[in-house]
C-alpha cells in the first residue's frame, strides 16, 4: 500500500496575524508559519497504518516558503519519502492552486490513498483533500478518525458525524481521506533526530507550474475585538436573560 500525506504550513496564531487594516490584505511575508495541526494528525494515522501493515509513506508539500523542516520532521517520525513540489510559489498561494499542483503530481503516481488534514485555519477557498479528490475524480471522505487496511486493496474508514454518530465505510483505492484525528496523539520527533535526518535524507523536488486562483478580491477584516470582558450587570434574573440572549444569538442553545 502506498500512502501519500499532504502537508502544509499555515500562519501561526500564537503571533498576531499580519493584517494591513486599510488595504484589508494579509501580509503573508510578515507572518510566521507552522505545520497545520490536522495534517499532523493525518501523518500520524499514516504512520500507524505503516506500522500495522507495512505501508510506504510519502509526505508531500508545496514549496510555499520554508517547508523543509516540516518534511524532515515527518521523515524523522518515520515517513519513507519526502516530496517538495517547487515552482513560482509563495506564501499567498491559495488552496485551490495548491490542490491543482498536488493533484497533477498525484495523478502521475500510483498512490493507493492520500491522507491530509480535514481542514486548516486558512482554507477560505476550500479544503485541500476534497479539492484534490475532486480534481482527480477520486472518491473522498472527510472527518475521518481511523483508517485501516482491510485486505488487498480495500480500506476501512471511520467517519464522524455531529451528535457523536460514527459510520464505518469500506472503500476501494485510490481514495482521498480528510483526517480529523489519528487514533493516537501525534508522535514526537526529537530535535537530534530531525537534525540528523536533515543532514542525511533528501527531499525530492518536483517542478510544477502555478495554476490560476479562482477567488479574487478577498478582503480580511478583524471581528469586533474583545479586550476586557463585557460585564453583564444586574440581578440574577437579568444576568440569566442576557446570557440566554448571547447564546441564542450565537446559536448555542440546544435545539429540539
Amino acid at each position: 500500500m502506498r500512502l501519500a500525506v499532504l502537508l502544509k504550513t499555515v500562519p501561526d496564531l500564537v503571533e498576531e496575524l499580519a493584517l494591513d487594516e486599510d488595504a484589508r490584505t494579509l501580509l503573508f511575508d510578515e507572518m510566521s508559519y507552522v505545520p497545520s495541526e490536522w495534517d499532523d494528525q493525518a501523518l500520524e494515522e499514516a504512520l500507524i497504518i505503516k506500522e500495522e501493515s507495512g505501508a510506504e509513506v510519502t509526505v508531500i508539500a508545496v514549496d510555499t516558503g520554508d517547508v523543509d523542516t516540516m518534511l524532515f520532521t515527518a521523515l524523522a517520525k518515520g515517513a519513507d519519502y519526502a516530496v517538495k513540489i517547487v515552482g513560482d510559489f509563495d506564501a499567498a498561494m491559495s488552496n485551490w492552486q495548491k490542490a491543482r499542483v498536488v493533484a497533477d503530481y498525484l495523478g502521475r503516481g500510483d498512490f493507493d490513498a492520500v491522507l491530509s488534514g480535514v481542514q486548516a485555519i486558512d482554507d477560505v477557498d476550500g479544503q485541500l483533500p476534497g479539492l484534490v479528490a475532486g480534481f482527480l475524480g477520486w472518491p473522498h471522505a472527510s472527518v475521518i478518525t481511523e483508517v485501516r487496511v482491510a485486505g488487498g486493496s480495500h480500506l476501512q474508514l471511520r467517519q464522524e458525524y455531529a451528535g457523536g454518530l460514527v459510520a464505518e465505510l469500506e472503500t476501494v483505492t485510490p481514495i482521498v481521506v480528510g483526517v480529523q484525528a489519528a487514533r493516537k496523539p501525534p508522535r514526537y520527533a526529537s530535535v537530534a533526530k530531525v537534525r540528523q535526518v536533515a543532514k542525511s535524507a533528501t527531499i525530492d523536488e518536483v517542478e510544477a507550474d502555478v495554476a490560476e486562483a479562482r477567488l479574487a478580491g478577498v478582503e480580511y477584516v478583524r471581528p469586533v475585538a474583545a479586550g476586557h470582558a463585557e460585564m453583564i450587570e444586574g440581578d440574577i434574573d437579568e444576568v440569566v436573560d442576557r446570557i440566554v440572549a448571547i447564546l441564542e444569538e450565537r446559536n448555542l442553545l440546544r435545539r429540539a
Partner: protein, 316 residues
C-alpha cells in the same frame, strides 16, 4: 442567472436545521436577485418534508444507497444534478457532509468554493460571502465570482426556514457507489467524557467549594448540551477525574462555549482554553485574570447563577 441550489441533509427528525437555515438565506437572496431556488434532497425517508419545502423546486435523488449517507454516492449524484441545474450559487451546511461534498463538488465541477461562510451580503446585484477563517480571528469578505460559487455555511448562521411551500418535484435516479460502502452507523460507546471534543464546556474552579455543589454544574451542562470540565484544584481535591482538567498540565480545549465558573484564570489554566470561540466568566471578583480573556463576564455568585440558568434553559 442560474438558480440558488441548497443541498439538504437528512437528520433524525427530518431535514436538518442547518440546511433549513440555508433554505432561508437562499430564498431571500433569490428574491433580491430575481432567481429561483432549487433544493436537492437524498433518499425517501423525509420525502413528505421535501414536498413541503418553501422553494421553487426540489430534486429528490433516490434509489441506490441514497437512504443512507454515502460520501461517494452522494457526491456523484450531486455532481450530476449540479450539471443539470447549473446553479449560480450553491449552499451546503459545513457539517461532515458539507466537508465531503463541498470541496469534492467544487473540484469535480471546477466551481470556486468559499468555505466557512457565516453570511452572504447583496449589494447592487453583487454578492459577497463573509467567512470565518483563522480560527475566528479574521473574517474574509469574498466577492462571489460572476460565474458563481459553492458556499459551505457554518451551522447557525441564519434562522431556519419553517415555512410550508408547494415546490415542483423532480425525481432523480441515483446509482450505487462502486467505490464506497457503508458497513454500519453506530453510536460509539462512551468511555469517560472527552472534554476536547465537546462544543460546550461548563468549567468549574475552586469557586465550586465542594463536591456537593457539582450537580449544579452537571445540571447546567446537561441543559446546555455540554459537559463539565474544571481547573486543577478541583482535580486535586478528587472531585472530578483528571481527564476533565483544562490547562497546561491538563487538556487543551477549543469549544464553542467555555463557561468559566469560579475560575480565577491563572496562566496555567488559560494556556488550555484561551482559544475557545466564546468565553463567559462567572466570578465574584471582577478583577480576576479570567476577565481579561473572557468575552463576557458577570460577578454573580456561581452557586446561585448556575441553577437559575439551568432552570431557564430547561423551562424553554
Amino acid at each position: 442567472m442560474g438558480p440558488i441550489l441548497i443541498v439538504l441533509e437528512n437528520g433524525a427528525a427530518g431535514v436538518t436545521e442547518a440546511t433549513k437555515e440555508c433554505v432561508n438565506k437562499a430564498k431571500s437572496l433569490a428574491a433580491q436577485l430575481g432567481t429561483t431556488t432549487v433544493a436537492v434532497g437524498f433518499g425517501k425517508q423525509h420525502v413528505s418534508d421535501l414536498r413541503r419545502l418553501a422553494v421553487t423546486k426540489v430534486v429528490i435523488a433516490s434509489g441506490g444507497t441514497m437512504d443512507l449517507y454515502n460520501p461517494d454516492a452522494y457526491e456523484k449524484v450531486l455532481a450530476e444534478i449540479f450539471g443539470n441545474v447549473k446553479p449560480y450559487l450553491t449552499l451546503i451546511a459545513n457539517t461532515t457532509m458539507g466537508l465531503d461534498l463541498g470541496a469534492g463538488l467544487a473540484g469535480r465541477t471546477q466551481t470556486p468554493l468559499i468555505a466557512y461562510g457565516i453570511d452572504i451580503e447583496e449589494q447592487d446585484g453583487r454578492l459577497t460571502a463573509i467567512s470565518q477563517v483563522f480560527a475566528g480571528k479574521l473574517l474574509a469578505r469574498v466577492p462571489i465570482p460572476e460565474d458563481g460559487a459553492i458556499v459551505t455555511v457554518i451551522p447557525g448562521s441564519w434562522p431556519a426556514d419553517n415555512e410550508a411551500g408547494d415546490p415542483e418535484i423532480e425525481e432523480w435516479t441515483a446509482q450505487d457507489s462502486e467505490a464506497m460502502r457503508v458497513l454500519r452507523v453506530v453510536e460509539p460507546e462512551q468511555s469517560d467524557i472527552d472534554i476536547t471534543k465537546a462544543d460546550i464546556l461548563v468549567s468549574v474552579g475552586r469557586g465550586i467549594e465542594g463536591p456537593d455543589n457539582l450537580p449544579l454544574a452537571e445540571d447546567l451542562a446537561e441543559a446546555l448540551g455540554g459537559v463539565v470540565s474544571c481547573s486543577r484544584p478541583v482535580v486535586d481535591a478528587g472531585w472530578l477525574p483528571k481527564a476533565r482538567q483544562v490547562g497546561k498540565s491538563g487538556q487543551t480545549v477549543k469549544p464553542k462555549l467555555y463557561l468559566a465558573c469560579g475560575i480565577s484564570g491563572a496562566p496555567e489554566h488559560l494556556q488550555g482554553m484561551r482559544d475557545a470561540d466564546l468565553i463567559i466568566a462567572i466570578n465574584t471578583d471582577e478583577s480576576a485574570s479570567i476577565m481579561d480573556i473572557a468575552h463576557f463576564g458577570t460577578t454573580a455568585d456561581m452557586l446561585e447563577l448556575m441553577p437559575a440558568l439551568a432552570e431557564r434553559l430547561k423551562g424553554g
